[in-house]
Amino acid sequence: MKRFVYELSESWKIAVAQMRSNMTRSTLTALGVIIGIVAVTLMGTAIGGIQVGFDKSMAIFGDDVLYVGQWPWRKVDDWWNYRDRKKIKTEYAAGLNHMIAMTPNSNLTIAIPTSSVYRSVKYTDSEVNNVLVRGTVSDYIITSTFDFKEGRFFNELESRSGANVCVIGYDVADALFSSASPIDKSVLINGQPFKVIGVISRQGSFLGLFSLDSIVVMPLPAFQKYFTAKSKADILVKAKDKTKLTDAKDELTGLMRRVRGLPPEKKDDFSINEQQALKSTLDPIKNSIAIAGLFITGLSLFVGAIGIMNITFVSVKERTKEIGTRKALGARRGTILLQFLIESTALCLLGGFIGLAFAYFMCLGIDKAFPSFPIHFSFGLVLASMIVSVMTGLISGFAPAWTASRLDPVTALRYE
């Protein structure tokens, strides 16, 4: 064991000396690994970025909230079967809440009606188009994950009376008021004034596709007074225990069938959606992007590995006599194998370090230049790329090192 440690440290010294004395050659060979590691690491940060963005987007939906709607959150081949379903009505929420209250040990806590439409929002000369205008009740805050930058959500009284108040998203506030406070100002939606009572803090965008900050939330009665046309209703139902979401979903299905008055032989004419279902449709897409990306960038690392293998073969060849001498002095096969494995690994590790540093600064640069580009540099990635470097060194160095360890000492000593 002790001998192994000494031989290991000896091998490291030789490897470093060897790299120093063959500067040009080592640099060029390491360059292959550097490029490979940069490519793989950048791909890794991009995948990490997608993952982080994905999780963030998913969190907005809440992992204990069920969404009752007309359409399922997945791709459907028979869209015509869904198109003609009866619309979901906000009134269902009251019925659901009544039934939840009547059910002992219900898995559900509360049903929240929402109704949404896209409209323009104006304040003096400024205007924002395509804002999601949503009418709901004061309990909506229970199912949501957002915080307030300033102000508050509307209370139960405002909710019931349908006061002309609203809560606006970060982007809306930013576009209409820039630095001024929007609180107590009135914005115009469909020509109707609504007093701003709260600003939601920044939520980001869903998978970078659409902003979650371009939103206005108001009491449902007020919404229904002005925006009934083309509005789309959803019922949000919060489950009691997120680990029993399946039970909650079954219970909700039963309740919805009663609300809709469906006889047993009829199929459900509504869809109950959840974050998890969305995740399971998007996960395979995300994973195949990751696999394809890593495979393609992995090829460049493979080319680097071939370079390392080649240079190690050359090194073994030109140091044949040295190998013979070392064997004569008592180096075993394992000693020689270790020595050349360490040499190729040292080269790969060097390349890995430099590559990682490059990748890190490139990430910083990309982050500065395009802040919205999903990139995520993590410690796990550093560790992974170091492991990949070492593995590359071991794998590419093995064949030449094996050849060296098997050399016949007599032949090796005679080699000129």
Binding site: Y6, A328, R332, R333, P409
Partner: protein, 250 residues
């Protein structure tokens, strides 16, 4: 003890190398080359023996056998009572590390390492602690008269100094035999004589020395001379060769 003639009468030490009827065949394409055709020899502790012979006589092959770099095709080979013929590569490496000190014609030093690091090498393979290693290696270099060249690299040393480093390296593990293959072959005659004087000194301090050479002037330093021809022992003479007498007298 230093008197040459007293060597002949003093009692012989235990047997270090014991070979009996060994042969070595090499396959060269279609042809089988019989490098050794049945050689038997015993070498005792603290002998100074020269192996001589023209090229192709099997001299190098026999040296490889002694050095445990190669194993015989047939025959018996015991090193300190251990059967070498049956050993695998790693066992042979251990024997080479602990029992044999090699001195090569071309010195075979690691070019980018200092004298100290070169001499330390066998100790590293033996698994010795770094502190003990450095101490032993330094002492070995002092013993061969290179106490002031410890941190020099081979290209900063003269040929004779390089061979001294190689001898220090051969000695550092206290081997049973020192195997010198044409140790003066790459040196001028004056430096060669210095190296031979060093070997003589080592012999007088109780080391066993096997000298492989084709030069009679070098072989005369040994106390026993074995002549090989065509893979068999032609002669095995104990005693100082004639040229030696005049030198010893001077």
């Amino acid at each position: 003890m230093n008197k040459l003639n007293s060597d002949l009468t003093r009692p012989r030490g235990p047997v270090v190398i014991d070979i009996e009827n060994i042969t070595k065949d090499y396959v060269m394409g279609e042809e089988i080359v019989r490098a050794l055709r049945g050689v038997s020899l015993q070498i005792h502790h603290n002998e100074y023996i020269a192996i001589m012979g023209p090229s192709g006589s099997g001299k190098s092959t026999l040296m490889n056998m002694f050095g445990c770099l190669d194993t015989p095709t047939s025959g018996r080979y015991e090193f300190n009572g251990k059967n070498v013929a049956a050993m695998d590569d790693d066992e042979l490496a251990a024997i080479r590390n602990r029992e044999i000190g090699f001195v090569f014609q071309t010195f075979n030093l690691l070019p980018r390492s200092t004298s100290l690091r070169n001499v330390e090498l066998p100790l590293i393979y033996a698994g010795m602690d770094p502190e003990a290693r450095e101490e032993r290696a330094t002492q070995a270099l002092v013993d061969v008269g290179l106490g002031d060249r410890i941190h020099h690299k081979p290209n900063e040393l003269s040929g004779g100094q390089r061979q001294r480093v190689a001898i220090a390296r051969a000695l550092v593990n206290n081997p049973s035999i020192i195997l010198a293959d044409e140790p003066t072959g790459n040196l001028d005659s004056k430096t060669g004589e210095e190296i031979m004087a060093l070997l003589e000194d080592l012999y007088s301090r109780g080391n066993t020395i096997i000298l492989v050479t084709h030069e009679r002037d070098i072989a005369v330093h040994a106390r026993r001379t074995v002549h090989l021809r065509d893979g068999i022992i032609e002669s095995d003479e104990v005693g100082v060769m004639p040229a030696m007498e005049s030198m010893a007298a001077s």
